[in-house]
Symmetry: C2
Subunit: 129 residues, 2 copies
DNA sequence: GTACGTGCAAATGATTTGCGTTAAG
DNA sequence: CTTAACGCAAATCATTTGCACGTAC
């Protein structure tokens, strides 16, 4: 159903994100991938990050209206610092299960994914204040 | 600690959002409030929506990088249509409780709020396809 | 009276688009 | 080959900012 064209650009983006837990922004993906593919354009990075997200090969996380990306991992949640926008992965099988149970009960929308974000101020930022 | 200056602009925005379950965008808040305060500027609407969110009088919901707003209500979650961006409120005490339990276990961040969003395609949009 | 809010217009920043060229299958 | 992807520059859209003036308290 979905034949994906593996261009060099897509391969490098996937490579960079594989096993990457830093939740990079488009700018950061662009900067990193450009080391390998000097001529890649930012528009291509945008297009491919969107494309790969839609295909389910990577995942988008939106923080303050800005897109960030991560590879596809086992189900987990995010704790986000309101101040520095750092994203910390957090795993809870209980919560995952509970949310999937809830998802089944929503009739108006056929749920295909769930996002759970915890917000607050991280230790580093609290220390600075 | 937080003495809020109740200007006409702020009062009208709060009035419009009170009991409003439609999750309006900034543009929609602006359009509505302008009927009462003809000379209000969009910048003021932006500034006040941000200000009132920070004060905890209203709540911001981000969909596809765009801000939407709702009055402060009992804890609930959102089901969002990927296609038309419609937001549907969904209540589950189980899930709320479970998420609050999880929040306590996150050490790196002192969690002060949790957002749970369910994504999928709504009934209307599925019908059109 | 004074600090804070407002209106306006211009600036910013992220993301998208149009189009001629290139490359994957 | 042929269609989808790329690179580039320009366009778009949401949101922010600088500043002179106005107003809540």
């Amino acid at each position: 159903m979905a034949e994906i064209k593996y261009t060099n650009q897509r391969i490098e983006i996937l490579n960079y994100l594989e096993g990457n837990y830093t939740h990079p922004s488009v700018e950061q993906v662009y900067g990193a991938v450009r080391k390998k593919l000097t001529r890649i354009s930012k528009a291509t990075v945008y297009q491919n990050l969107k494309f790969l997200s839609e295909k389910g090969l990577i995942r988008e996380v939106n923080v303050k209206g800005v897109s960030r990306f991560e590879p596809m991992l086992e189900p987990h949640h995010h704790a986000i610092c309101r101040n520095c926008s750092r994203i910390i992965d957090f795993r809870s099988e209980d919560l995952t299960e509970c949310s999937l149970n809830s998802a089944k009960k929503i009739k108006e929308i056929k749920v295909d994914s769930v996002n759970i974000n915890f917000y607050g101020i991280c230790a580093k930022c609290r220390a600075v204040k």
